[in-house]
């Protein structure tokens, strides 16, 4: 079976899937979609794939899926033999899904601010920026107390999950929306950790972190 990703390079939601598939070492084809300036995601052909007119769309054999969070869960359940990325435990599943929802809130705020400033979208800049700051404050606090108790990731397991992948891209791209992360030092440290996950790849706008201190 072949996996096909309908993809736009500058989309953080598409990148979530490229990132997980790289970490899981999955092979896939890319169908580039001219999201900007072509607005191809509103074309008839694309709307037949996803009536919501949104990227990303992933096809796996006969299956056509949309929504990055849903697809992350699908890929992890289907292809992650370790079971770590989207754990089975009901409580952890709920926790991860909670963060997938936060990721959508980040898309609605930080990503919207980026679209407003970079891609001429008619969003309310001040409102989206303020919304992103509100979310970042909470995540920073969560991660700061996590560090104090030995938790490095958004969800409670001792390893990263799709929760981290879902929230990462638009946190990292927030400055393009005029949202500084200077006030969120724990959030900044977490972005270093995500960038050091084996198999990590970049997208345009996100630079790699250098290597961690080698264990003595």
């Amino acid at each position: 079976m072949t996996i096909t990703l309908h993809d736009f390079e500058l989309s953080g939601n598409c990148y979530k899937l490229r990132l997980l598939m790289s970490i899981l070492q999955l092979r896939y084809d890319i169908v580039p979609v001219d999201f900007f300036p072509g607005r191809e995601h509103k074309s008839d052909a694309f709307l037949r794939l996803n009536p919501f007119g949104q990227l990303p769309v992933l096809q796996d054999g006969d299956l056509t899926l949309s929504d990055s969070g849903a697809i992350l869960a699908y890929l992890a359940r289907r292809y992650d033999a370790s079971g770590q990325w989207f754990p089975d435990d009901p409580a952890v599943t709920a926790e991860v899904l909670r963060w997938h929802a936060v990721a959508d809130d980040i898309t609605a705020t930080a990503s919207a601010a980026r679209l407003a400033l970079g891609f001429d979208y008619p969003f309310d800049l001040e409102k989206t920026q303020a919304g992103a700051h509100r979310i970042f404050r909470i995540i920073d606090e969560h991660l700061w107390f996590g560090e104090k108790s030995g938790r490095d990731w958004l969800a409670s397991p001792a390893h990263p999950t799709t929760a981290d992948i879902a929230c990462f891209p638009y946190v990292m791209l927030s400055e393009e929306g005029g949202i500084s992360r200077q006030d969120y030092p724990a959030l900044r440290r977490w972005t270093d950790r995500v960038r050091r996950i084996p198999g990590f790849i970049v997208m345009s706008g996100i630079f790699p972190a250098g290597p961690a201190l080698p264990a003595a």
């Binding site: 200077q182 030092p185 270093d192």
Partner: protein
């Protein structure tokens, strides 16, 4: 109280825990943005958050452990000094001009990192602990950023005091509430961070941290609601310093010239049979930035000047470590150092200079050392090691006991091969195997006795290594000097014209005319007398400049080189 850009007071700018290894923290104090990073040796660097090259924030760069790498063009800046050590666009050049980022003073105490808007070279007000600091085992709270004017935040904190026990105000933007001390970090005119310290680690630390975090969050929300009703204050507008005039132009080659630096011999030890190690430390603070392959002039008590390579790794600036060969027949250079200089003595050294720059753009680097020649190559190996670049170090000595810096060599992660007591012929074949056939982007660096230099040079050439891939350093100029020419030199800045007869050097003639001009080896090997040429054609006889620098005809060594034209105009 209004904030002043030039307020020299110390403020906390981060928690110690904010600075794990290999991370760059983004901070701000009185409007100035800061890139703050902890090197692998534990030292905390507080720098202006702006690369001197093209102004990119260093907080998006990479903490490589001993150097910070800028994200835009990969310039490297050294731990402690913020001096630029490498410019990848010109990998074969040593960035000899002193490119140094702006640094702020730093102190780490009570679980916090402190800094001040002062010139770090000239601190007018040193760090002093807050009153009562000595009585606690301080435990920092979660910092609380607030979008409100620092003075309003301080006033807000004071309102947390119970009526019967008002807050004690402390110097600066700080106060004590009961036994908890709060500092307000003035980020900018309308932004602050509350940094609190508990006097000891509470029994249930998490619960206590949560409790204070909740309390401060509520205060923050209150302060921000009030601030939102007022007009936002104008952000402070710190100016960026200008770079020195010589950095604003692009000379083809740099003119190293510097003052001497007093150092103290912190340690003197026998590193191996016939090799004495010296650790030279600055009297205070750190020593200047150096690049791998660099050497210093050591001014000896008997007036002689000798060159020694620095063996240190990147960002190690608290002292330089050099190795000195104990030569029985030495004419007073090394001999003085070895025999009369003792631990605790003061010496003068020059700023580091580099005639032996290390490229960091090789796919393979071969380092070949003979005897005391290990010193520059040890430094190179350490730099390559830190950047995880591949290298092979071959170190030849006559006997096992002569292997210097053994412990340091063992700490390296690359390929280190020590060859002891090989017969001459076998040295040749070992070198040949070590080099192998050349391919694109491979470089070899050699330092050792001239026979070894020659051997590496000819073997490498025979195995297809081009000249540009073979690097060695001359500490001596063995070539015969032809001083038969006669010509005039015009000294543009001194407004005088002198005649240089056959048998005399330009340097001698200038000194006869009463000028003070620096020199050291007087063999055209050390670079001290390098002078800019404005007009005329130079007859280069030194071993300091490389071929393209010689061809450029823009500078010369006045101790040996002469004129092909009838007249030279020098920038002196």
């Amino acid at each position: 109280m209004t904030l002043s850009l030039s307020d020299p007071a110390w403020y906390p700018i981060a928690s110690s825990d904010d600075l794990p290894f290999r991370h760059v923290y983004q901070g701000q104090l009185l409007g100035r943005e800061l890139a703050v990073w902890r090197a692998d040796d534990g030292n905390v660097n507080v720098w202006e958050n702006r690369c001197l090259h093209r102004g990119v924030r260093l907080s998006i760069g990479i903490n490589e452990g001993a150097e910070l790498k800028c994200q835009y063009h990969g310039w490297r800046y050294a731990n402690r000094s913020a001096g630029c050590t490498y410019i990848p666009a010109h990998p074969a050049d040593a960035p000899a001009r002193r490119i140094q980022n702006k640094i702020y003073p730093v102190a780490e105490a009570f679980g916090l990192v402190w800094s001040a808007a002062q010139d770090s070279d000239n601190i007018e007000r040193p760090f002093a602990p807050f009153p009562g600091a000595e009585s606690g085992q301080w435990f920092p709270l979660r910092p609380m950023p607030v979008n409100a004017a620092p003075e309003d935040v301080l006033a807000g904190l004071a309102t947390l005091a119970p009526d019967d026990r008002p807050a004690d105000s402390l110097p600066g933007l700080a106060l004590r509430l009961g036994d908890v001390v709060y500092f307000v970090q003035p980020v900018d005119a309308g932004r602050a961070v509350i940094r609190g310290l508990l006097p000891s680690t509470p029994a249930d630390a998490t619960q206590a941290l949560r409790h204070y975090n909740e309390m401060l969050s509520k205060l923050r929300d209150r302060l921000e609601r009030a601030a939102a009703k007022k007009p936002a204050p104008e952000p402070l507008a710190p100016a960026f310093d200008k770079v020195s005039a010589d950095l604003a132009t692009m000379p083809d080659i740099a003119i190293p010239r510097g003052n001497t630096i007093p150092v103290v011999v912190k340690r003197k030890w026998t590193s191996a049979d016939g090799v004495i190690g010296f650790e030279l430390a600055a009297r205070e603070g750190h020593l200047p930035t150096f690049q791998p392959g660099a050497h210093i002039d050591v001014h000896l008590p008997n007036g002689l000047i000798r060159q020694y390579s620095i063996t240190n790794g990147p960002g190690e600036l608290m002292s330089y470590i050099i190795g000195v060969k104990q030569e029985s027949a030495s004419k007073g250079g090394s001999k003085v150092l070895v025999e009369t200089v003792r631990q605790g003595d003061m010496l003068a050294i020059s700023e580091p200079r580099n005639n032996f720059p290390l490229r960091r753009d090789a796919t393979r680097t071969v380092l070949i050392a003979g005897g005391i020649g290990i010193t520059p190559l040890l430094s190179m190996a350490r730099f390559l090691d830190k950047s995880s670049l591949p290298y092979e170090l071959h170190y030849f000595t006559r006997a096992c006991e002569q292997v210097a810096f053994r412990g340091d060599l063992e700490a390296l992660h690359g390929t280190v091969l020590i060859h002891t007591g090989l017969p001459r012929a076998e040295i040749g074949t070992t070198i040949s195997t070590a080099l192998g056939a050349w391919s694109q982007a491979q470089h070899v660096y050699v330092c050792g006795p001239s026979a070894m230099l020659e051997s590496v040079r000819t073997t490498a050439a025979a195995q297809g290594w081009p000249d540009e891939a073979i690097h060695f350093e001359y500490f001596k100029n063995d070539k015969p000097i032809d001083d038969s020419s006669a010509f005039d030199v015009e000294l543009a800045r001194s407004a005088m014209t002198l005649h240089v007869p056959a048998g005399k050097t330009i340097l001698e003639v200038m000194r006869d005319a009463g000028l003070t001009v620096p020199s050291s080896c007087e063999q055209g090997a050390c670079g001290t007398c390098l002078t800019t040429v404005i007009e005329g054609e130079v007859d280069h006889q030194d071993v300091y400049l490389n071929d393209s620098e010689k061809a450029a005809n823009t500078c010369m060594m006045t101790c040996v080189s002469r004129a092909k034209s009838a007249r030279l105009v020098l920038d002196i």
